[in-house]
Amino acid sequence: MKRKLIVITALMFVMPMVVQADAISQLQADYQAKGAGPFSAAAGEALWNKPFKDAKSGKERRCTTCHTTDLTQAGKHLRTGKVIEPMAPSANPKRLTKIKKIKKWFVRNCKWTLGRECTAQEKGDLLAFLKSL
C-alpha cells in the first residue's frame, strides 16, 4: 500500500513534466483525434509565410509580420513595437512548452492574420514546422 502511494506520488510529479516537455506531440495527437494528419513541416512553412489580406485595412498580414522570417531571431509586435522572443525552440527552449499558451495564441494569431481560426490540419502543420527549427 505504502509503495503504491509512493509510486503514485512520484508519478504525479513526473507526469506533468513529461506532458509539458512534449506539448507539441500532445496537441498533434489531439488534432489527429479530430481527423487531421499526417502533418507536414513544408505545409506549415508555406502557411507561415503566406500573405493574407486584412479585410479592414487592406494590408498584407502574415505570421512573419510579428515573428520575422528568421525564427531564430527575435521578432517585433507590429502594433506595439514590443520585442517577441525567437520562436524556434532551438533558440528559445521555453517555446511551445505549454499547451494552454499555444492554444491561446493559435486562436489570437490565426484570427488576426488569417481572419479566421486555423483548422486542426493547419495547426498540426504549423507545429511540425516550428518544431523542426
Binding site: K76, R79, T80, G81
Partner: protein, 414 residues
Amino acid sequence: MQTQTEENPVAEITQARIWNIPVRLFHWMLVSCFITAWLTRDDRYLDIHLFAGYLMAALILFRLLWGVIGGPYARFGDFAFGWREAWGYTKMALKGCPPRFIGHNPAGSWGIYLLLGLGSLIAITGLLALGGEEGHGPLAGLLNRPQGALAHDLHELLAWVMLGAVAVHLLGVLVESILHRENLIGSMITGYKSVPPGTVSATASRPVAAFMLVATIAAGFSWFYGYLVETPEQPYRPFIGQQLPDNALWREECGACHLAFHPSLLPARSWRVMMQQQASHFGEDLFLEQDAIDEITTFMADNAAEQELTEAAWKINQSIPETETPLRITETQYWIDKHSEISMQIWESPKVNGKVNCAACHLDADDGTFEDAAMRIPVEEDQSSTVLFNEMFQKAARYFSFNSAPPNRLDDKG
C-alpha cells in the same frame, strides 16, 4: 585691512595677487554648476542636475569656511560692510564716481552674501523636492508629495531669483570695470590687480586649491562611475525606485503584446472598464476567462494610480479630470506634457515604433517605476547626427522661448 584708496594717477602702480586660487576656483566652479544645473533641469538629466547641485552646496559650505580662514580679501571680515555703506557705494556708482576698493566693494559684498544665501536655499529646497517627490536623497520621506511639489516650485522660483541676482552682479562688474578702467573679470581669472605699492597681497593657497580639484574629480568619478561600466544589455540606471507590487498572471496576460503597463499608470476606473471590454481591446480580443479577468482586475485596482505608488502615478492621476476614464496612458495630460518635446521622427523610428513602446526609452519600464534619468532616446546609427542635431536645435529654441513662457512645472500639474 586697507581697502579703500584714493585715485592717484601719479602714484606708482604695481601688481599684487588679490584673489587666492581657492577663491577663483570657487567662483568659476560655482558658475559652471549654475549653468549646468540650468541646462539639466529636465527630468532626463536629473543625475547630472543633482551632481551640479551637490557640488554647488559643497562649494558654498567651503566658501563659508574659507570666509573665516581664507586669508586677506577672502575673509568675510574683510568685506563685512553694513547696508549703509553698500547703499552709499551704490549711490556713488550711479553718479559715476565710486571709490575704488582693492577687495570686494560694499555693494559687491552684499551681492556675494545674497548669492551665497540664494545658493544655499536652492540646495535645501532641491533636496526637499527630491526627497518629497521622488523619494530619493538624504531627505527622502521627510515631506509628502504635495509638500515636495511645493518645495520644487520654490526651488525653481529661487533659481529664477538667483538668475536675476547673477545678472545684477554681472552688471555691477561691468560698470565698475568701466568706471575704474580695470578688467575685473581678468582679475578673477589671474588673481592679480593693479594696486598701489605696499598693498598686502594674498597667498596662492595651492594645497587647498589642489584639494578642491582632487575632491571634485573624485566625487564626479564615483557619481558617474556607473556610465563607465554599463553595457548595452545592462544600461546604467542612476536611480532605482522601490519595488512595486507584481502579479504573475497579470504579467503573463498583459505583457505579451506590449509592455505590462504597471497598474500605477492609470486609475482603477480605467482598468475596470478596460477589463470589461477585454474582448475588444484596441482591436484585439484578449480571450480571457472570467476568473483571470477577476484576478487581474483586483490586482490592478489595488495598485492603481490613486495609490500613488510612484511619482508618475501621483502626477498622472492628478492630471486626469474626475469625470474622465482614459483607456490610454498616452492620452493622459501628464504623459502628453512629458513627451511633447519628442519629435515625430523619433516616434516613427524603427527602434521606438510608436508611443506604446515605453521600454524603447525607459530603462525601468518593466518595473513600472519610470524614474528620472532612466530614459534614453534610441537613435539609428546612420541618422544619429541629424536626430541629435534636431534635438539640440529644439532645445536651443525652447531655451530662448523659455524666458517668456512660464517654467514647465506649471504644465506638470496639468
